[in-house]
């Protein structure tokens, strides 16, 4: 069984905007850079004291965004709603905190409460495009009839240890951000049946891997994924109205991506934009890109595409 995949809800938690589809649309209509960390008080306000105290920061972000998305879709969580969460770095902060307990006091310094946070527990971990992969996985489950509705998106946090680690490793100049963006995806028929507002439709997805040294960028400028996604959607290249890429300020990776897109789209296709340059590089940006693409397609009547190498 193959079914259409509708986007029926959005939940976003960033330093500048927090809310559902309307909030995200307002930000995208007049975007401005958001690279700040999210104030703790804002997360406490979203979750309440008790829940905020029990959850690590990255979990606070994910839970808050997930709840906002479900509310936005007017859907209740339950047996029928799957979850696919993407992250690049997960809860590295808790891992360091757990290790520090041991290093400070030996075995008695270990916290049984922190240990579970050291496991990422995410269905889509990847560099750069974890959020997009989560959406692809969720859309696939719905399109094949294995799931009726899935909450999917990405989350990452800004962490000082991570920042220094990336600097030590000579990472690119990308500016990292933090936040969580989740989408509610549903089978289009099920969404229509319950009278849900449909923000957009995911018509085709594709993902693939190119030869590159581990943790690095590659040299190939040929990728078939854009063509595969278009074919899956039965859409011609000329109908693309907007392209959201994943450039983030990391010169080497960005250059590679632009060359890949030049080949896939043709050099004349200039309507490309990157939300990562606005909200920083984090897994939530991928889901925000999908929401933005859906909005652009709805406004223009054309098809938008979201990509990320």
């Amino acid at each position: 069984m193959t079914t259409g995949v509708a986007i029926t809800g959005v939940g976003a938690v960033t330093a500048r905007f927090t809310g559902g589809a309307a909030t995200v649309s307002a930000f995208l209509a007049e975007p401005s850079p958001v690279h700040d960390a999210i104030a703790d008080e804002r997360l406490v306000a979203l979750l309440g004291d008790g829940e905020a105290r029990r959850l690590s920061r990255v979990c606070q972000l994910a839970v808050a965004a997930g709840r906002l998305a479900l509310d936005d879709a007017e859907l209740r969580a339950g047996d029928d709603v799957g979850l696919v969460l993407g992250t690049e770095f997960g809860d590295l902060r808790s891992t360091v905190e757990f290790a520090d307990g041991y290093l400070a006091a030996g075995p008695p310094g270990l916290s049984a409460l922190i240990f579970p946070n050291t496991v990422m527990n995410t269905m889509a971990a990847a560099t750069t495009m974890a959020g997009e992969l989560a959406i692809v996985r969720a859309a696939g489950a719905i399109a094949s009839g294995r799931a009726r509705a899935v909450l999917a998106g990405g989350v990452d946090q800004i962490d000082p240890f991570l920042g220094s680690m990336l600097a030590d490793l000579g990472a690119g100049e990308e500016r990292r951000g933090e936040g969580a963006v989740m989408l509610v995806l549903e089978s289009a028929s099920s969404a229509r049946e319950r009278g849900a507002r449909i923000l957009g439709e995911i018509m085709g997805t594709a993902s693939g891997a190119l030869a590159a040294r581990p943790h690095g960028v590659g040299r190939s400028t040929q990728s078939s994924v854009v063509a595969e996604a278009l074919a899956a959607a039965s859409v011609e290249l000329r109908h693309l109205g907007a392209v959201y890429d994943s450039t983030s300020g990391d010169r080497g990776r960005d250059h590679w991506e632009q060359r890949l897109l030049d080949t896939a789209l043709g050099a004349g296709h200039e309507r490309r934009s990157s939300l990562r340059r606005l909200i920083g590089a984090h897994a939530g940006a991928g889901a925000l890109g999908v929401a933005a693409a859906a909005g652009a397609a709805r406004r223009s009547g054309q098809v938008a595409v979201i990509v990320g190498p």
Binding site: A77, L83, E88, F89, G90, T95, V96, F98, A99, D100, Y102, L103, G106, P107, L110, S111, A112, F115, P116, T118, V119, M120, N121, T122, M123, A124, A125, A126, T127, L133, V136, R137, G140, A141, A143, S144, R146, M165, D168, L169, A206, S207, G208, A209, L210, A211, A212, R213, P214, H215
Partner: protein
Amino acid sequence: MTRVVVTGLGVVSPFGLGVKAYWEGVRSGTCAIRPVTLIETEGFRCRIAAEVPDPVPGSPRRSRADRLALAAAREAIDDAGLGVAERRRAALVVGAVGGGMLEAEGWYWPAKRGGAPLCPTPALRSILPYSHADVVGSRLGLGGPRETLVTACSSGAVSLAVAADLVADGVVRVAVAGGADALTRICFMGFNALRLLDPEPCRPFDRARRGMSIGEGAAFVVLEDAAHAHARGARAYAELAGSGMTTDAFHVTSPQPDGEGMARAMMAALARARVEPKAVGYVNAHGTATLQNDRIEARALRSVFGAGGVLVSSTKSMIGHTMAAAGSLEAVATILALVHETVPPTVNLTTADSEVAFDCVPSMAREAAVDCAISNSFGFGGQNVTLLFRRL
């Protein structure tokens, strides 16, 4: 409907390199849980684990877990006889948890104590779980969709379930899937802190069980569209006929007490395979030997299969709980049980818990021609995965 078959197997286990060593180990009921040598254990209640014996192949510049993954994936691909063109289109789905944490600890521990790092800074590049997929994919030329899945102790199993979906949905004809994990200080200390480790080798389903033993390893399989495998003359070990994935949505570490989420995963796998419970002859249980898991899994099994309806064993009694590798290592044991018509035993089991209403195949492997078998994997957060294999 596309049928998905297993055409390649690859393993690095506490019994050493290769599928052959692994099967000989589990079939003979050998316990590979011994004193830990890789990390310091001073001051901990439990000081044993099932380590992969040295040398682990591959460049020492790669993390131990990356090397485990690469060796197992390479064996699986060679076993399946995949050519360059098939690899270029094949998907890679990896279950991972610890990533290169062992090396990252070797960098961080001494640095924090003011000493010289045991590992160079570049070792940190492999700290995150997706490092395995990057290394395996780039070294073995796998150019299809590449995904890393982290669902704690069910990561290895979920990698097979998702890869099978990619094949069944027609996204790819061939997928390489599996899990890998090396022993790490964080994992060893964490389970010690939770007081979930037995100071002696674990005793799944035993009345006197006191917790789990941890281990390390990697296992990969090649999953393939049956028609594609047939067309290229590949040998198929078994069919991955169904999978079920559910979440308890109950607690961060504890399973739902009534086992409803686990049972739902098993029922989903049966439904997808269109197999009745009575057709299943063997269950490779999650069977960690913690008080909670074994009791709750036994309840879930009873609710699905009825009392005494199926042979149940835990291969963790021999190789420990290998975390992200567990689901795929146990899937390989389940496939080989079908192929060799031999059910691996549960070792260290003296007296079964009164709540365990099954023959747990104590101590010695048992000859049994089984047509369908399932492998259960349950992770932190109540992430339940069941894989159902059918003999060909």
